[in-house]
Subunit: 705 residues, 2 copies
């Protein structure tokens, strides 16, 4: 028995509908009607034991009774008849089942058991399952529609396209289809996955990578079954030049609660998802309808050449509003070069020859009988080398249809995108129809168009994922050091030893268990020193007053040694393991660099400003721990306090290469020590000029996984 492939499922030669009906309000009725309407060229077998014919087709009492090979069976019977239907399919040698019925795993324990039973039957028979609790799928290039949605019922053709849509929500898939059809684009294939009892997002994502009809891949995700496989596929998509755009629900507690009650997915910690997925070059959009519009723009228009956006509008006000929104989104409102202004001399008075371009500012006498006037204007301005992309904001203005045609023509002839915003609402319907017919996306809001450009630019500027760097330390040595550690929190001294072994500079320190030892240590290190309490029971020493800075002399050492012992008494049951005497590092900035093991995405690397205030500062970056030096350097520049490192107000510039190295080494430690290094944190990392020193560190070790 050969394994059924996704290609088999998307290109079946025959389809059976178990629960086929004459009633178009029922699943088994509407799916049959859609197969007919969109002229599926394969065989169609309705199964309904109580009818001789269903719609125009002869009906069968069971799948087995068909007596011919059935590639795909759609099972649309109530769930108390699902087991029988699956046995029937198994006996008939069906390759794949599309199980649309709901009330399975998503509804509780009884449903989960029933679902498990179905999976068991299918697995034994070598049948692949899509669903249950889904809306089905279609493959436009095979004229196959097994997806039940209002968006398809209203159409007369199954529009072909180059965007794949893979969704864990059926209803959202429907809304996404509706939006895409409204703006004039079709899909290569679309699948609603429901509970993913067998086939899941990754299976269809993998297929999309090699599907010749698919150029852009769009995903709606609630939870991942196989996070590592997912990341690997994103990487392959990037390599194949197929952009992946996705919406992830369950980013917040509320969203996660909604998702868990919905399709029995595990939403996972969103921050790690976001970091990992972005690192592989996928684009995250927070609203599925925006996702569709962006996917359509990506499939049909070239990428912006740079961040400067030319604004065109029928109204000065529209141009001003768009310019503000562009600035606020972190892009730039483009201006024209003197050369371009000169080139525009025959088209308008000089007072109008600037961006944002206000169509209304040009006296009508300039436009004359030349219907190409606007096209010449927009093309000339777009050709300015300083301009990276354009946005045309159509207000309620004269000749909206002609304006739309112009934008279609400009997009066909140019190599930079001009995004069209229909701000005229239903007054702009006819214009929007021109764009629709030409397959050029039109946006309903200026902000949506700006976000589309912004996301595309981020995608274009993605650094790419480099081959795994060799760590700058001996993997054996760090393993040897950590292996004997007991379970749980590791002492600062041990954590710093680990960092030092990995080539990370730490403040010099000595353990002292008596006042005299502490004085010896301080004299050896040199005053002033820092003194810190040591206790396996204390994770955040400074919170209990367990860190004494700037201890200047022997008397101070004696005094603070006692004070540390007193401070520890606040913590019930905490044992005094001594005192760590360290050099006092000077800093213009205190950073944190930490790693943790994420249950879905493995080792993650966080770094940022704030030292002990890091939670309040909210000025950190998160990357996979395997991140390249280049990605680390790029993320550093995105931090709010980054200018502190580059010579802010008379400070010495920090040796950024060494800082990036330190962060990279921390990441490599997490990669190579794996799941056992549950957490590892260097905090604060004291930074001033060429001096970069880890002043404190902690780690949590898992003896057993």
């Amino acid at each position: 028995m050969t394994q059924t492939s996704i290609s088999d499922i998307l290109n079946p030669k025959s389809v059976a509908i178990v629960g086929a009906s004459d009633d178009l309000a029922k699943w088994g009725g509407s799916i049959l009607a859609l197969l007919q309407k969109f002229k599926f060229p394969g065989q169609i077998f309705p199964v309904n034991p109580r009818s001789q014919r269903v719609q125009e087709y002869p009906a069968f009492s069971s799948v087995t009774a068909i007596g011919q090979p059935v590639d795909v069976a759609v099972v649309a019977v109530p769930n108390d008849r699902a087991v029988d239907a699956f046995h029937d399919c198994a006996q008939a040698g069906v390759k794949a089942i599309l199980m649309v019925t709901s009330q399975f795993a998503e509804s509780g324990e009884a449903g989960q058991q029933l679902q498990d039973t179905l999976v068991d039957i299918a697995r034994k028979a070598g049948i692949r399952i899509i669903g249950p609790n889904c809306m089905g799928y279609f493959h436009s290039h095979a004229d196959l529609c097994l997806l039940n949605s209002q968006a398809l019922m209203r159409n007369t053709v199954l529009q072909k396209g180059s965007i794949a849509l893979i969704s864990q929500s059926g209803a959202l898939a429907g809304t996404m289809l509706a939006r895409a059809y409204d703006i004039g684009t079709g899909f290569s294939f679309c699948v609603s996955l429901g509970n993913q009892a067998d086939l899941e997002v990754c299976d269809f994502l993998e297929y999309a990578l090699s599907d010749p009809h698919t150029r852009v891949i769009s995903l709606y995700i609630e939870g991942l079954k196989a996070p590592q496989r997912f990341l690997s596929l994103l990487r392959q998509a990037r390599a194949a030049g197929k952009p992946v755009l996705l919406t992830k629900a369950g980013r917040t507690d509320s969203g996660q609660r909604a998702v868990q009650s919905h399709t029995a997915s595990m939403a996972g910690a969103y921050q790690a998802f976001e970091a990992a997925v972005r690192y592989e070059g996928a684009v995250i959009v927070d609203d599925p309808l925006e996702l569709v519009m962006q996917a359509v723009a990506w499939a049909g228009l070239p990428a912006p050449k740079n961040r400067a956006i030319a604004v065109f509008s029928g109204s000065g006000g529209g141009g001003a509003v768009a310019s503000d929104l562009i600035d606020e989104a972190g892009l730039e409102a483009a201006t024209l070069s003197a050369d371009t202004v000169q080139r525009l001399a025959s088209l308008m008075p000089e007072s109008s020859a600037h961006l944002p371009f206000d169509l209304g500012s040009v006296p009508t006498s300039y436009r004359g009988a030349n219907s190409r006037w606007l096209q010449d204007v927009v093309s000339t301005m777009m050709a300015d080398p300083g301009v990276g992309a354009g946005i045309f904001v159509m207000t309620t203005q004269p000749d909206m249809v002609g304006t739309a045609e112009t934008i279609v023509a400009v997009n066909r002839s140019g190599d930079k995108p001009v995004l069209f915003v229909n701000a005229a609402s239903s007054c702009g319907n006819e214009a929007a129809e021109k764009l629709r017919a030409a397959g050029v996306v039109n946006f309903g809001s200026i902000k949506d168009a700006i976000r589309a450009l912004s996301h595309r630019l981020a995608f274009e500027q993605h650094l790419g994922v480099q081959d795994k760097a060799q760590p700058g330390f001996s993997v054996e040595q760090v393993h040897a050091m950590a292996r004997p550690w007991p379970d749980g929190l590791v002492s600062e001294y041990q954590a710093k030893q680990l960092l030092a072994t990995a080539g990370i500079p730490t403040t010099v320190g000595r353990v002292a268990t008596s006042e005299d030892e502490a004085i010896q240590a301080a004299n050896a290190i040199g005053f002033p020193v820092v003194m810190k309490v040591m206790s396996a029971q204390v994770s955040h020493k400074s919170d209990i007053g367990g860190v004494m800075l700037n201890v200047k002399d022997e008397a101070g050492v004696r005094q603070q040694f006692k004070a540390l012992q007193t401070a520890l008494k606040q913590v019930p049951g905490a044992a005094f393991d001594g005192c760590l005497v360290q050099q006092m590092a000077q800093a213009d900035a205190e950073l944190l660099v930490g790693t943790h093991w994420d249950v879905q995405f493995g080792p993650m690397l966080m770094f940022g400003f704030g030292g002990t205030l890091v939670e309040l500062q909210r000025d950190t970056a998160l990357l996979p721990a395997s991140a390249s030096r280049a990605a680390i350097a790029q993320a550093l520049t995105g931090l709010r306090l980054y200018p502190l490192l580059t010579g802010y107000r008379g400070r010495d510039p920090v040796d950024l290469e060494r800082l990036v190295d330190l962060i990279h080494q921390m990441g490599q430690l997490a990669v190579h020590l794996g799941e056992q290094l549950s957490e590892c944190e260097a905090n604060p990392v004291m930074v001033r000029g060429n001096s970069i020193l880890v002043a404190d560190a902690r780690a949590v070790w898992k003896e057993q996984i």
Copy 2:
């Protein structure tokens, strides 16, 4: 001659159209046609010297030739005939001119001169002007339409409504009308103001305050002619219970550039605008189409009762997406109380009885023949006391029309708003039509609906503007202190004296001009001390190494005194005025509190965290300097690092009342010293527990205004 009022202009008994035409593509043609179509009950006089009749009316060769009183004359002739037209109107005793023609002040100097000539003619004749370079105005309750827009040409009636729209952009006014008509709402009146050569935003805003037809006021603003009058009107609007929503263009450099080239407005510094306008309780929306949708929601729906938003959707995915977006917008996705769950027992299985509510999760058997089922469900959930408002996300789902009718009914019967989002695109058109017909707003995106709730909640939670507090200091004394100051930067010592006089605690300090004096001062204050260079030429001492912290003994004082002199040598031409010796204040947090005089909005008050890093931290609040203690306290809580003041990680909680007092006194200083106190800054303000001390201060004084 009595002054023409806005009411006269909105309720004219007769209108003349100068430049009336049979050609509907021309201004003088379309306006005449609109007056007819919407059945203006007053007299209509076309003026056209070359025709006997225009459209169906007898035409006149001039306004003077009409021979009857003309309240409003629309002037729609090319600008080279404008002066003649104005003289004609003046001679005929016209009360107001609507001047639609462009190429005046907005097009350059020649245009400005021509505009000035027109204003001069009008002023002498007691004529008020709307425009030039505008699209006109309408007053629906008088059946008067003098606004030329595609949005009106497509309508058969001039829909009456309760929203006033006052706009500095004609084309944007048109797009806003189009959007409102699409979602089923009309306006009380709408005016496009163009260059505001005479009548301006404030004149119509003032009228709207007392207009019985207007409940909500919406504004599109580029620049203000009379900022203080504007603020005063906003305050009156708030007192009158009429919400003002506005979009301001020219927030950013790019937007400002666009605005200046557009209607010759001065955009002004946006931050001060935002702070001043928000303080008066107006709502700022960054996109004019969103503004319209929000205004429609405000006019038609009750305010949310609290921040917990109930989400309803035809799809679990839709609910999850909305819940995430609600959390990310700083609102809460509501949950149901056990009571409410119990009340839902007859309507659905318990597994479905939660928020976000997924309509699709309820087996159809529950809905039965009861068409009121959904209404019962939504009403019961909305009645939960924990729920403040609702959002219904309609995906491509069965019975969308019935769903829309349900939401209309729920909104009619309940006292909490349920915002409807049509996520089904054109599949939802019929449903949207039901809402339109009922005048219930429908949103095109989930984010738009959430922002509408969020803005409304901010409006409801506005603290209100209190009466001016008495300053806690003698106004005469601070005046007496500042009056002798020379022009420009004031020394730290003087600035602190001013603060001290205003009851603001500052670090103790003495001026020393020699090493010996410095040692005396340090001994008097007590070690350790801070030493700072004094020079009228140096504004930011720490940037040149002119601040020595933690000087511990006499030897240190000698050494640092020399070091300060050396440091000052970096600044060419800077004179050494001595050294300030101060107590060394300890701090858990360093704040900045500053004031400056804004050219449009007067004294402004800024405060926040960061000390010398304040620009990087970007953790500040801006208020009018006259802000109340309550407003200051509320703004403080919004700062990112605010938890540092309330006992973060073992720190002593700061005496917030004293801190608010300090900030309030700084504001009052700026209010009472007025424009001469150009800038005043306390930075850093050292804060630890009950100790709040200004460690450094600066001020800039203007001897002459």
